[in-house]
């Protein structure tokens, strides 16, 4: 077997099954100096490191957990994951794990519903696994990466047809509050497949309201019951430090399912803006110097440590594909979170209020959306021979249709040329026939492409300059007069 030591996300598994490590008895520390908001300061500690995980034993047998935020001589500051409500300085003892948070990984995660730190919410026993891995992941040697390839089909026309998601890609959804991004994210999670491969989904919800969490559970129940989905749910009122762990736990589970179990895994992370706000809050608690809009200067590299965990690894069957969902405050695409995300990811799907106002679901602004790796996942031998050309033609025609619509607003539709009027008709057809889709509707790729051709048929043949004669002959629907 290929030696990936120091390179592969799965490399730690065979080396040290960590349950045995946990058996080491832990010295507890009872010199609690201060309780301040979610922070707890303990004295008399030595050899404790940043981000180290700890267990907080309380007087009546209750157990909470914490993460070391800061170490100063023999003082350690912890953020308590379950908050410090009801705690007093007396009777608290801290046991340090001696390492950052680790989780047990394995197929037992599938079908389970847990909170943002991986504890069961479904009434079941704690999730156990075949290996224990650090949630921060292993650095992956770049030369062991395989480029993303082959499509992940979501059953959603506007994505599959025009911004195809590729196995191993990271493709964010940029949205604004109030738009149905959660509906779209759950629809992708419920419907996505990768032709012929075993497909698994890890859904990491961050900072969602309880109503949204109930909605997510309902929408994904079928896939969850089928043992194909893991749900990690961090609510808006859960501690922010837990929100920082949630995507890391999700990716650790996904990496094991992909690179050890051989599945294609889709990780959906919603909402990354909420995650970034948690990073900002923790950074403020650590008294770090704030950068743009109060976010820490390392926000870019922090986001990169998450997004860069997607991909494919040489010699391994599976893949990790990431779809982060971001809400842009005030629709501002220059906000640090979408801005920095855009540097790292490979394209974006942009949701627009204007499109939503026209009653189209999903309200994707197709002219602002792009999958940079689409060529690796679509076309002959991957989807269908006409896919890339049709997508290019649909987008080009839509850009022209938008100009024609603006012109019609100025001079009236009657004053337009016959060709311009056909573009306006095309726009209606493509929006109603191709882009607009039911919230539970699954469309095959062939259906999607046929709908695109049906809309293109509204244009004069000479306008379809991006499509070869052979493709036009084969796929363009014939009119009543045979044209």
């Amino acid at each position: 077997m290929m030696d990936l030591r120091g390179a592969s996300p799965g490399q730690g598994e065979a080396a040290a099954p960590a349950p045995a490590v946990r058996f080491a008895p832990q010295v507890s520390h009872g010199d609690i100096r201060e309780l301040r908001g979610p922070l707890l300061v303990v004295g008399g500690v030595h050899g404790v490191g940043w981000d180290e995980f700890a267990t907080v034993d309380m007087a009546r047998g209750e157990c909470r957990h914490g993460l070391v935020l800061e170490v100063d001589h023999d003082l350690a500051t912890l953020q308590v994951l379950e908050s410090t409500d009801g705690m007093s300085l007396e009777g608290i003892r801290i046991r340090f794990d001696g390492r950052p948070l680790h989780v047990q990984v394995g197929t037992e995660w599938l079908g389970r519903v847990c909170n943002g730190r991986g504890e069961p919410l479904d009434g079941g026993p704690p999730v156990t696994g075949t290996a224990t891995l650090p949630v921060s992941g292993w650095p992956l040697n770049p030369v062991y990466r395989d480029p993303p390839q082959e499509p992940v089909l979501t059953g959603i026309s506007v994505i599959d047809g025009l911004a195809t998601l590729v196995r191993g890609q990271k493709l964010p959804i940029f949205s604004v509050p109030g738009l149905p991004h959660l509906t779209l994210a759950t629809q992708i999670a419920a419907q996505a497949t990768a032709g012929g491969q075993t497909f698994r989904v890890v859904f990491a919800a961050m900072g969602l309201t309880h109503a949204d969490i109930a909605y997510v559970r309902d929408r994904l129940e079928e896939r969850s019951a089928g043992g194909e989905l893991t749900l990690l749910l961090n609510a808006a009122d859960d501690p922010v430090i837990e929100r920082i762990l949630t995507p890391r736990i999700a990716l650790t589970i996904a990496e094991h399912l992909a690179y050890t179990e051989g599945h294609d895994v889709l990780v959906i992370m919603s909402d990354m803006t909420s995650y970034a706000e948690a990073v900002r809050e923790v950074s403020a608690a650590r008294r770090e110097i704030p950068a743009r809009r109060g976010y820490p200067g390392y926000l870019y590299s922090d986001l990169a440590t998450l997004y860069e965990r997607c991909g494919r690894v040489k010699g391994r069957d599976g893949s990790v594909t990431i779809v982060p969902v971001l809400t842009m405050p005030g629709g501002d695409i220059t906000h640090p979170v979408p801005d920095l995300t855009g540097y790292i990811t490979e394209g974006q799907i942009v949701l627009s209020q204007d499109v939503a106002a026209r009653g189209i679901y999903p309200p994707v602004d197709v002219l602002s959306s792009l999958s940079r790796l689409m060529r690796s996942g679509a076309g002959k031998g991957r989807t269908r021979e006409d896919h890339l050309d049709v997508a290019a033609q649909v987008l080009a025609a839509l850009a022209r249709a938008r100009q024609a619509t603006e012109l019609a607003e100025l001079v009236g539709e009657a004053a337009l040329s016959e060709t311009d009027r056909s573009y306006i008709k095309y726009r209606t057809l493509v929006e109603e026939g191709l882009f607009d889709q039911g919230r539970d509707e699954v469309r095959s790729l062939a259906d999607t492409l046929d709908r695109a051709w049906a809309a293109l048929a509204a244009l004069p043949k000479q306008e379809l300059t991006m499509l070869s004669t052979a493709l036009l002959e084969k796929y363009l629907p014939k009119g009543d007069d045979g044209e």
Binding site: P17, A20, P25, G30, G43, D122, G123, G124, T130, D218
Partner: protein
């Protein structure tokens, strides 16, 4: 008031006839136009009604499908949660039994040797100045200032269970 002469009546008759005929023709045309309009309106209304009914049927079917899927999902979730709750109970039961059995180790003939080993372990970790006392649950508890090491038997038993991945088969059956 001046009346027309009886001769004039006869002379006007063709004009009256022509006027009546023209009025009848116009009325007929109006009737026909109205009839055509009614037919067109009815056809248009029927078409619109059919579209509305079709859309309503489609929406209704979609809503019913969603509702059925939702109910089915929730029932499945409840069933799954029953299974998971049972597994949790099994795990709790296992932990409880383990704790009870661990307490009985105090009466085992090897217990003094175990206490000695645990005491030594405490001193190794906390330093020679640490004080080590017997735990009420069996085993020992070491303390050095604010540092404490709990090596009582139920704690050790719990840690042993967590360190045995194969044990999960007992509650995941």
């Amino acid at each position: 008031m001046t009346m027309l002469s009886p001769e004039a009546d006869g002379a006007l008759a063709p004009i009256r006839e022509a006027l009546r005929s023209a009025a009848d023709e116009e009325a007929s045309e109006l009737r026909e136009a109205a009839r055509q309009q009614v037919i067109a309106l009815l056809a248009d209304s029927r078409e619109q009604a059919a579209l509305i009914v079709a859309a309503a049927v489609k929406d209704g079917e979609a809503a019913a499908r969603s509702e059925a899927a939702l109910r089915s999902s929730r029932v499945r979730r409840e069933a799954n949660e029953l299974v998971l709750a049972q597994r949790s109970r099994l795990l709790q039961e296992l932990r409880q039994q383990l704790r009870t059995r661990a307490l009985t180790l105090q009466h085992d003939q090897r217990y003094p040797a175990l206490v000695n080993a645990l005491t030594q372990h405490c001193l190794d970790l906390l330093g020679a100045a640490a004080s080590v006392s017997m735990s009420p649950d069996g085993g020992v508890i070491g303390e050095a200032g604010a540092r404490r090491l709990d090596l009582s038997l139920p704690i050790l038993a719990g840690m042993t269970l967590e360190s045995m991945p194969e044990a999960r088969e007992l509650w995941n059956l």
